[in-house]
Symmetry: C2
Subunit: 342 residues, 2 copies
């Protein structure tokens, strides 16, 4: 791996430096060529590094940021009034090419708005999208976007998400012409609201995209398509509902498995495999989600991410930076959009 530098919003998320700093240290142990810029309140960050060996701290650069973006800040407010925040500072470092990527567990709306203003979107893209990879029954991971960066989207925006998702999947999985579907209330052409109806029209007339039509919620985890597109409102609720139902199922299984030594033993033996499935149910929480469509790499970690989860987000940023994802997406986008507009 060539030398990489990531900027971490050390203050982001529900736990701030208590989580982000130890996760950063772990990441530096994993990647010997990695450098990290920890952006935030140096008075909180520095003490957390006092016990860390110098061959690790020598690859950490602390940049003081006097402000924080609060979880309750409206995007417009954060944009206007949090110019000295750790989140904004971390994004600036990517823009100024001092960092190859940025990771934050902070306010999604604010991160999206700031990233858009600071890094700018790729040519032909109006709004970035939050995307993550979900597990499926046939082990073909599926990319779902948008996961909450855009709570309301018109057809043109959903169309751009479809193009970006397709390009991302092709760039990462090397799969040619990945299949793309729109999440809808039914698979029949007449189903759905105005946005999905119009988006379907746009995609049907775009041979560069391998559009498969509508799919319903129960098909998300079947693995029959590579990319699933929906607005951020639906995507966010879909992902979180998956987490909720997995917990319910786990809970009811546990309840059903508490009578009798033999069955309790079974429950114990099953716990790890059930837990590992449960862990996959919320990729945003455990793998981080990427904000794509920008001229830079931004990885969003879940707000209440623990150390392991935030480390996962850092690892995702390392992978995307190593693959120079934005450049890859931009190149594919250019050719597709060129064809579409010609």
């Amino acid at each position: 791996m060539t030398d990489l530098t990531l900027a971490l919003d050390a203050m982001g998320g529900d736990h701030g430096p208590r989580i982000t700093v130890p996760a950063a240290v772990q990441a530096l142990r994993i990647y010997p060529h990695l450098k990290l810029i920890l952006v935030g309140d140096e008075n909180q960050i520095t003490p957390l590094l006092s016990q860390v060996e110098t061959n690790i701290t020598s690859r950490i650069d602390i940049r003081h940021a006097p402000e924080e973006v609060e979880m309750g800040d409206k995007p417009a407010f954060a944009l206007r009034c949090r110019k000295q925040s750790s989140m904004r500072y971390a994004l600036d470092l990517v823009k100024e090419h001092q960092a190859d990527a940025c990771v934050s567990a902070g306010n999604t709306g604010a991160l999206m708005a700031m990233a858009k203003v600071v890094l700018k979107t790729l040519p032909g893209i109006d709004r970035p999208a939050l995307v993550s990879c979900l597990p499926t029954i046939n082990h073909q991971p599926v990319y779902l976007l948008d996961l909450g960066a855009n709570v309301s989207c018109d057809a043109e925006t959903l169309f751009q998400f479809a193009v970006m998702g397709s390009v991302l999947c092709e760039a990462v999985t090397k799969k040619q012409h990945p299949s793309v579907a729109l999440l809808n209330v039914g698979s029949e052409e007449i189903k759905g609201n105005g946005q999905v109806q119009q988006t379907a029209q746009l995609l049907t007339h775009t041979p560069q995209i391998n559009y498969q039509g509508f799919i319903e919620g129960n098909e998300i985890y079947c693995g029959n398509v590579d990319v699933i597109v929906c607005d951020g409102f639906v995507g966010n609720i879909t992902l979180k509902t998956s987490e909720g139902i997995a917990r319910l199922l786990l809970h009811q299984l546990k309840q059903g498995l508490t009578q009798g030594f033999f069955v309790r033993l079974l429950a114990k033996m099953l716990a790890p495999s059930i837990q590992s499935v449960l862990r996959q149910m919320n990729p945003d929480h455990y793998n981080g989600a990427s904000l794509i469509g920008l001229r830079g790499i931004v990885v969003k970690s879940h707000g209440n991410a623990d150390e392991t989860a935030f480390l996962q987000a850092i690892c995702l940023a390392v992978t995307e930076a190593t693959r120079r994802l934005p450049e890859m997406i931009e190149q594919r986008l250019e050719s597709i959009l060129l064809d579409i507009n010609s």
Copy 2:
């Protein structure tokens, strides 16, 4: 139980009479005072009853309908051109008080549109909503609406759903002032799209509704609220995603439990409890969903419902008819809407 008469759309659903007629016969065996009107193609229905004992067939009345609503029919088309369909005929029977309720497994959009025109909505209600009961971790069932009858809703419509859901829950569970929440991408006040934001405003200023604010997808199955409101696009995808994730979890558990005699044995023991949880994941499929806000009882069964599922839908219709649900809802609605408008 006093004598009840239900009208069944015998042609509705993916399987038509092959499923609906045997389910009807089962229902008549369960309820000795029940009468059923089977509406549809008598040439398909009659042969399916040839082997049935007369004390059952004596309580079956076949009404011939020369048409069917197709699953692909647009609501407006079905309304205009399927006036002689089994679905329309069954709804007419409820309107003419020849039947106490109607059950159909047909096209949801068409059923919703026809029911609205034929039966009319209750005073103060613009659009009926599809509602069902979901299981939760603390065993407090939660009412989720709308499940797909209205793919796009303005704030006023969502507000009416909240009132109807609250009244339905109070009427059925006898719980005073049931708690109502709006499904959203975050619990903070600033989160969400225009519709949920405006609906929250309306509910905050309605003391008659025990409004609890926003909840996220992962909280649906926690059982912390009695009623959850969302538009039909989100509700439908949420419900179907729950089914999908449950299947994925079951699949992955099975995969994790195939090595070794002992573990396979334990896995077999687990299967029933997993299956029973799985069954609950799609109440629309297994229990039927109610179309509420109408001047009559309409129960929607899943399109590909099997005999047991369609029987469940008939049982739900029997319960609602026995409790005279529309009258109960109308009375509570009147008082609430009176207070709101005064």
